[in-house]
Subunit: 626 residues, 2 copies
């Protein structure tokens, strides 16, 4: 018998509660900055139930999350919470009623046979009971789900440097840590992802003062900390790194040290950005963005294969019904969220997540489909954000790239729908593909144009890249697009690492691996040469070091530890090591390393619940499951 008890809650509500906390946790220069989209709440009133047949009497005690009120029903008798209850042998029903306003209602039961493990149902009085949910981080009766139960690791500064009349403490790497400051008084501490930022007491993002009792500052991203008006030795400073324990399963070692370092730093970057959820960055925004998360699913499949992390993230992004706005307000992020569910299924199979998400998927697609204009193209309403990328699109009328996403969302919906609901998406996809071809394909330019209304016939890379990735262009046309768009210097280059991910994968698909490897080594290797210990939100080799911190018009606006910068993990694993699932969940897979790039290789990746080790030594290839 599994003797572990778990905190139990309503499926998805733990994620919504912690997503609220996450998306409201951004603080910059003393100002809270809650995410600017519709925030989804959690259910406040639940009843948990389970029927037991006991061979012998049992005793059990029910706890509820802090702030909850409620009671226990054993058959027809009421008992208080936090009280040992005796249950005689025989058939019995245990019900736990709880209400909680400020955090996710949840319960924990210690006992013998009666305990909070599998087999409990939960109802919100609005829908039939469903299986209660739990996770592996919440098994301790004294650490309830109101607060995330972080693991902690203590870091000492790598350097303490007297500078500007104070002391700068620098850690070996970036951390998300509560800084502990022991010494005289309660000094103001200035934090930074960089030395520059921490020393800039006026413009750095965070400053804080240790709590007088614990001597700890609030949990915050930092690599450097500066205390003015003090000398080396005045303060004992430690960083209590607070993280979610998600083991990296991947390993990558080859004869190219730059690639090895890129892989290691990318893995470290991704791990820092992954905790309760997959975030965009650890200093900024600390929000859960659908587009960023989408890309991260590809990385995580090969790095940790922690499906629970992905599930929490998809649940946190799930729109509430009725759906009136888009994921993060962005139409493309709605469509990428739909697509993310298919990526999850490709990685891990359908373990019940699709059934849980389907009502939201359907409602979100209803919103998208209600927004179509007469050709069937999706167009933004006032307040919708048609993002795609920071690029100079011809935004006259519906944008082509958005229709590529819509077409693929239809494909995903048709694939994942219950049998009776597939046809509508299949038909919508076929109609859209025909109109896409008729309206946006420019035969003369050999490319899809941004707008079919303006007459400007402007070609950008984005729609064409998506046409390649989503198999909207057939093989001859994909080859054509390589010339007319991808390798056409007249088409403006992609400027953001966000869309660079899509472009690099399109190049990989078309076989331009040398080009991709070269870009990986120059772009990510360039960051390493510039001293990066984690990969940045953006990197422009042309900029002098002191200007590398600016972004969005803010002198320290750039995130120096950003999830999307971890994409080499995916590109290397999928296209260079050549490991990919052949069936949803990876029960069948393929391992075809591009051996010409490696003299030696020893790479291990999770796949279908196993670890696959691929070794290349002296021309001999070995693939084994370990």
């Amino acid at each position: 018998m599994n003797e572990t008890s778990y905190w139990l809650w309503y499926p998805g509500d733990f994620e919504r509660y912690h997503a609220l906390r996450q998306n409201f946790s951004r603080v910059e220069r003393g100002m809270g900055w809650p995410a600017f989209w519709k925030s989804e709440g959690f259910r406040q009133r639940l009843v948990f139930r389970r029927r037991y047949t006991l061979a012998s009497p049992d005793t059990f005690t029910v706890r509820a999350v802090s702030g909850a009120v409620g009671y226990v029903l054993l058959d027809e008798t009421k008992y208080p919470l936090d009280t040992e209850i005796l249950c005689p042998a025989g058939e019995h029903t245990v019900s736990v009623h709880v209400g909680c306003i400020g955090c996710v209602p949840s319960i924990y039961i210690e006992g013998g046979a009666i305990r909070s493990d599998g087999g409990w149902t939960v109802s919100d009085f609005a829908a039939p009971p469903v299986a209660a949910a739990c996770n592996r981080y919440f098994t301790d009766p004294l650490r309830d789900p109101a607060e995330w139960a972080y693991s902690e690791k203590i870091y000492l500064p790598e350097a303490e440097e007297a500078v500007n009349g104070g002391v700068l403490y620098t850690f070996a790497t970036e951390l998300t840590a509560a800084l502990e400051v022991v010494g005289p008084g309660l000094p103001t501490v200035y934090l930074g992802e960089s030395r520059h930022e921490a020393l800039d007491t006026k413009w750095c993002y965070f400053h804080c003062t240790p709590d007088s009792a614990t001597r700890r500052c609030p949990r915050q991203a930092l690599r450097c900390a500066f205390i003015p008006d003090c000398r080396v030795g005045d303060y004992a400073v430690r960083a209590i790194h607070q993280y979610v324990d998600i083991p990296v399963q991947a390993g990558f070692h080859c004869d190219d040290e730059t690639l090895n370092r890129i892989f290691a730093v990318a893995a470290h970057t991704f791990s820092l950005c992954s905790g309760a959820f997959i975030l965009d960055g650890v200093k900024r925004d600390k929000w859960i963005w659908g587009g960023d998360a989408y890309q991260s699913l590809f990385v995580n499949r090969y790095l940790t294969a922690d499906r629970e992390l992905e599930k929490r993230t998809l649940l946190a992004l799930r729109p509430g019904e009725p759906v009136t706005t888009h994921v993060n307000t962005i139409i493309d992020y709605s469509l990428l969220w739909i697509r993310s569910v298919a990526v999850y299924v490709d990685s891990y199979g359908d373990d019940g997540l699709v059934a849980l998400l389907w009502p939201s998927m359907r409602a979100l697609m209803e919103l998208c489909m209600a927004q179509r204009e007469e050709h069937g193209f999706i167009a933004g309403r006032p307040g919708d954000w048609t993002f795609i990328d920071w690029a100079d699109f011809d935004r006259d009328g519906p944008l082509c790239a958005e229709q590529m996403l819509l077409a693929d969302a239809y494909r995903v919906m048709a694939r994942l729908a219950p049998a009776g609901e597939r046809a509508v998406y299949e038909a919508a996809r076929q109609a859209l593909l025909a109109e896409l071809e008729r309206c946006y394909w420019d035969e003369e330019k050999g490319a899809y144009v941004d707008s079919f209304q303006s007459g400007k016939r402007r070609v950008t890379r984005h729609a064409n890249i998506l046409a390649i990735l989503f198999d909207i262009a057939d093989e001859p046309r994909r080859r054509l697009l390589a010339d007319t768009v991808l390798h056409n210097a007249a088409v403006p280059p992609i400027t953001t690492p966000y869309f660079r991910f899509f472009e690099l994968e399109a190049l990989c698909r078309l076989g331009y691996l040398d080009e991709v490897l070269s870009q990986i080594k120059s772009y990510w290797g360039g960051m390493l040469d510039a001293g990066a210990v984690t990969f940045w939100e953006e990197y422009d080799p042309a900029k002098p070091p002191a200007q590398q911190y600016e972004m969005y018009g803010d002198p320290y606006g750039k995130s120096l530890c950003h999830a999307w910068a971890a994409s080499p993990i995916y590109l290397l694993a999928r296209y260079f090591v050549g490991l990919r699932p052949l069936s949803p969940g990876g029960a069948a897979y393929e391992a075809q390393p591009e051996t010409r790039f490696f003299r030696s290789l020893d790479a291990t990746f999770p796949m279908g619940g196993r670890l696959v080790r691929i070794r290349l030594e002296n021309g001999a290839l070995q693939v084994e499951e370990i």
Copy 2:
């Protein structure tokens, strides 16, 4: 210029937050008992906005409710909360962004021209901005909407009595109070609505221990408090009555002292049950029930005419979308909630509440209409509660009384719907009335029968009373029903004060005022004779005093201060003093006292925003607006 600032929130969300607190506040014998229906949450992320044109510079400071995070935007510049901000003369937009998980997000602005008064909009990022809401109880920057700002009044015990080895403290009336206990140690205090209950340390509903710092016990209903093992003088005991200041506007004095006392005790009972919301009772359930609230609207129209109290209550009961369950799980309460909106409009006119509630009204009626069987009758689904009353109905198939409520809900919907939406309800009503007549009217019995399926032709009072009240029976039939049902001893009597309200009003409608007055004097007068200081949930004159406390199988289960027991206020005002609105809001009204019941009368009631005083002295009738 009105210089008051108000706490601002999203319309209806203040009510949902405090309804959660109210419905989760029931505690009995140490066990929390949160209400067992779907609980509606509040929005956690808002932005408030207003455009100003300033003739001169202004400074302002923005506060947010405790636990909120956010910032202020003055045009394009961010400022922290709790900071004085200078706004130059000219055109400016002020936006306040807030996120709050644990309580209703709300803001307060102190300033000159820029302050949180009328004119602010609020958006939840899911729908277009709407006018922000506020109320008169939240104007103090230091008392935010996280906690209700109760008024307080101190009561000393009327008697201190040595009994059972301890001391019993008895107050002049029932209170909802924090008991203050000053003296040695922290004694356990046993509370009761009656002497019997407080002295029963095993079975009384509440016991508590004063807080060591404040010496106060939690706010709770009480008339008596017992401290065991002490002597008179050991403890100084006071009750800090905590209430919402809702002035009684009505006055009633006539030559019949019993009636005067009934009116006064009913007014006191109703006031105790009315605070943030209209509750059923102050000791139990302390929940917001749609059926109880419905009846209370009639009383409150004549007693306080505080429309805000009614509005808060209707908003607290409003189902969230999508609507999948009934108000308080009860089909009749859904239909009575619909009807309540019309009662509100009759009392105060449509001041915008209908527009606010309409989406919920429509969605709730969609649920009801989706539940109709082939005749168009509403029938309960598993989990629905078809209540009507605690009575022995023939529940084989759809229950007749429920169809009476449905027919009248159609009428209300057709009346209050936007023009384009009326026809569907009108048509549904006509179809239902025809089927009602065909299936439930029993010509031989001269009455509506409970079930048309069972063949038992069982007649109960309920459906027939509703047919009278809702004008479903025409005048000749109403007269017939008086004989075949109301005055037919073979039809089982109404046993609950809840449905007695409907029956007494039906008798009034048919002109049986002598009978009603006699019942008022015997039933309510009987409670007074039994020592009631507030009116009870139920009263059976046949029971000996010691058995008056039992209900629902619990020795102290009966509520001794129950809102529905205040109905004489309505019956006396409407049918005996004869004051009633002739148009929605009471701009036109009628005052026709039934002078034969009074030798002298001096009654004042609110009506259409005025106070109407009706005096009868020496046969002379005087009606004036004061």
